[in-house]
């Protein structure tokens, strides 16, 4: 088990390294750097000025050197610019140029500076991740029980009327991406057109003080899309368990139907959905980006959109590390959990 986890962590580190390098490469292409220089300094700069601006800040060097600096295995640059100012990568605000550190990268715990927000990337990610964490937490609280109940109810009597209607509902929600359901929900419950102003159409105030009124719509928008999918998986696995021999034996013995469902079938039926729920996390991340944009809730997804549209290289790298760690960690947890839930499977 230990060697399995270690091997998976190794693959995870390799994947994170490859992925951040791809992000690094794509954000360091020259037209994007030109755009960055123009938005940071002056929109009407000439080509020569752009080149000087980039040169002064070390953007024009070899990509491997720059990537090494970001990781923290190559010493940070110290460049005396054409304008006479000495700039150093490792110079923190207010620090003198003499006593700066030699290496400053992810390995040293320094995530760089955001060009969009003019703040440390580490701080931005910490605050934004906290906000997104609250959103994700409530989504899980709503989505998981709802999906499991729907799935179990639909799967316990296959092709009954209840199963048909719940399955149709599940198909409907999987066909509704967040940008569609969000818009429809706002139009129904938060607009003057229908007159039902039950909830708020924006969640900006939920960042300080989440209430039922301002947080319900974003949570339900993300939860709806995932619910159908998990419910369908639960239904399939429940329906399969209900056809097995031991359930039949229990029925023939005369055990009441509800105690068969709860006492005999449930545990075995929940193994497959567990994996699916864990693998839903990366999907939620996508929904989070869209919902944070629609409801103007300034979490990681919102920061991702801001960073990407302003080519904020180091913030994008930070967010992609968060993303890839989330994806791979949930895969690992789902594999380990699967072994514990189902004793017939072993990883080694």
């Amino acid at each position: 088990m230990i060697s399995f986890i270690l091997r998976r962590l190794g693959v995870m580190a390799l994947t994170a390294a490859c992925l951040t390098f791809v992000v690094f490469f794509l954000t360091n292409l020259s037209p994007l750097l030109t755009n960055l220089a123009k938005t940071q300094a002056d929109m009407r700069m000439s080509d020569a000025q752009v080149e000087r601006w980039l040169g002064n800040r070390g953007y024009d060097r070899n990509i491997f050197v720059k990537y090494g600096e970001w990781v923290g295995v190559v010493p940070g640059y110290v460049i005396e610019g054409a304008d006479g100012v000495i700039r150093a990568r490792c110079q923190m605000p207010g620090q003198a140029i003499e006593d700066i550190a030699k290496y400053c990268g992810v390995l040293q715990g320094y995530w760089g500076r955001s060009t969009r927000f003019q703040e440390g990337v580490g701080d931005i990610i910490q605050t934004r991740l906290g906000l997104t964490g609250i959103l994700m937490f409530w989504v899980m609280i709503v989505m998981v029980p709802a999906a499991l109940i729907l799935g179990v109810l639909a799967g316990m009597r296959e092709s009954s009327k209840l199963d048909r209607s719940l399955s149709t509902f599940a198909i409907g929600t999987t066909a509704t991406p967040e940008y569609v359901s969000g818009v429809i929900l706002i139009a129904l419950f938060a607009s003057t057109a229908t007159g039902l102003k039950w909830f708020k159409g924006t969640a900006t105030s939920a960042m300080e003080n989440p209430t039922f009124e301002n947080f319900f719509l974003p949570v339900i928008t993300i939860a709806l899309y995932g619910t159908g999918y998990i419910a369908r998986m639960t239904r399939a696995s429940m329906a399969e368990v209900m056809t097995t021999q031991y359930i039949r034996t229990a029925r023939l013995k005369g055990v009441a139907f509800h105690s068969i469902v709860i006492g005999h079938a449930l545990r075995n039926a929940l193994i497959a959905p567990f994996t699916v729920i864990m693998l839903q996390f990366p999907w939620l991340l996508n929904g989070v980006v869209i919902v944070e944009k629609i409801f103007n809730y300034k979490g990681v997804g919102w920061a991702l959109v801001e960073a990407a549209s302003n080519n904020d290289i180091e913030l994008l790298l930070g967010i992609s590390v968060v993303g890839v760690v989330l994806v791979l960690l949930t895969q690992l947890i789902s594999d380990i959990g699967y072994v514990y839930l189902n004793p017939r499977i072993s990883v080694s």
Binding site: T15, C18, L19, L26, L32, T34, S191
Partner: protein, 397 residues
């Protein structure tokens, strides 16, 4: 003139869609009449869910076809702005309409005084063209890589699976922001990607013909030459565009895809291909233990023959079902791209962009945002229902 009532609006929309209703009726009548002779396609009409799904999908396909090929159905130009029609409610008459001009905005006007109904109708054209085509390319890439990975296993499998998992570990929206923007288009990255991804159909066709007909060189050469000539010519036409990173064969280049659409297309294929690869690989690993594969191996058939002519046809059931679901997912991805304003021009009437435009004033004027949202929802729903019907029917035997 008086504004139209809701009943009149619905009636007029149904009349506008007349060509679609007629074609739908013809298709359904023919299919149900001959359903016993049409194989899996005919069996869709045995399941109610499958039939409803097929109906919705065909409705949008025909709408897209008639509106973009013949300029029918839509009442106005989707980009034209009409004075005094800004944010007007559904059924509002035009201010002094000229003769021959449709006198009403059936679903109202958006915040730039354009006709919502015409924009929704025109938005369907791009979706029903790009979504299935991108899914086909993703499938060809996924199958060409998934077959050998699942069949040979070992290092080849480890290598390709690592790359596939790497792409899947990207948050999709981050990938879209990185791959779809004007700066990337200048560097030619989408064109290099298209060079790579569009090569898979050619490789697939070549291997398919070689593995089947290598015992009959005359027939093989004829088929190989003709298919490679056609596919190769199309390939060069698509990837080569004068004045960009790849422009070395301008002499025979007659067709240039719109760079924005190419960019969107390539990145959607790129996002979908790894999932298809994983599905195909799993199916192949399951099927290669069957007796008929062992029989073919004992007969001395080549490995590519076994993969393409023994394993692949037996994996078709789950692949066809996933194909339908994946078109729906691609539709959602295209909407996401539009919603974030990536790829296509800002005034393009694609559904994602229209939803995003309408969203800003939604608490006061919901009518510009709802029609495209409901259209997208219904198309994806139709595809999911169709996939469900197909799954049910293919499990019956």
């Amino acid at each position: 003139m008086e504004p139209l009532s809701w009943i009149e609006i619905i009636g007029r929309i149904l009349v506008q869609l007349a060509p679609v209703w007629i074609s739908l009726a013809v298709i359904f009548a023919c299919s149900i009449r001959f359903k016993r002779r049409l194989g899996l396609y005919g069996r869709i009409f045995d399941s109610r869910i499958g039939m409803i799904g097929f109906g919705i999908v065909m409705f949008w396909t025909l709408t897209g076809f008639f509106s973009s090929a013949f300029d029918m159905i839509a009442t106005h130009d989707p980009l034209a702005q009409f004075s005094g029609m800004k944010n007007k409610l559904p059924g509002t008459p035009l201010n002094n309409a000229e003769a021959g001009e449709y006198a009403y905005f059936l679903l109202g006007g958006d915040n730039l005084a354009r006709d919502v109904f015409s924009r929704v109708i025109h938005g369907s054209g791009v979706v029903v063209l790009i979504a299935p085509l991108a899914t086909v390319f993703a499938f060809l890439a996924g199958i060409t890589l998934g077959l050998p990975a699942g069949y040979y296993g070992r290092r080849l499998d480890t290598g390709i699976s690592f790359v596939a998992n790497l792409i899947l570990a990207f948050p999709v929206i981050l990938l879209f922001y990185l791959l779809v923007n004007p700066g990337i288009r200048q560097t030619g990255v989408p064109q290099y990607m298209s060079m790579f991804l569009f090569a898979f159909p050619i490789v697939f066709a070549a291997v398919l013909i070689q593995s089947r007909y290598h015992t009959d060189p005359v027939k093989r050469n004829l088929l190989m030459f003709s298919s490679l000539a056609i596919l190769g010519y199309a390939y060069i036409n698509v990837i080569n565009t004068p004045g960009t990173a790849i422009s070395f064969l301008n002499a025979i280049d007659i067709f240039d895809p719109d760079p924005g659409i190419l960019n969107v297309f390539v990145s959607v294929v790129f996002v979908n291909a790894p999932t298809v690869f994983r599905i195909v690989r799993g199916l192949v690993m399951d099927i290669k233990t069957r007796d008929y594969v062992a029989a073919a191996q004992t007969r001395g058939e080549g490995s590519w023959y076994i993969m393409l002519w023994e394993i692949l046809p037996n994996a078709r059931g789950p692949l066809i079902v996933d194909f339908c679901l994946r078109i729906g997912y691609t539709t959602i991805l295209l909407g996401t791209l539009g919603f974030f304003g990536l790829g296509l021009s800002p005034e393009d009437p694609n559904w994602g962009a229209t939803i995003n435009d309408g969203r800003k004033l939604i608490s006061i004027y919901p009518h510009p945002a709802l029609p495209p949202a409901i259209s997208l929802l219904s198309l994806v729903l139709g595809l999911n229902l169709l996939a469900d019907g197909l799954r049910e029917e293919s499990l019956k035997d």
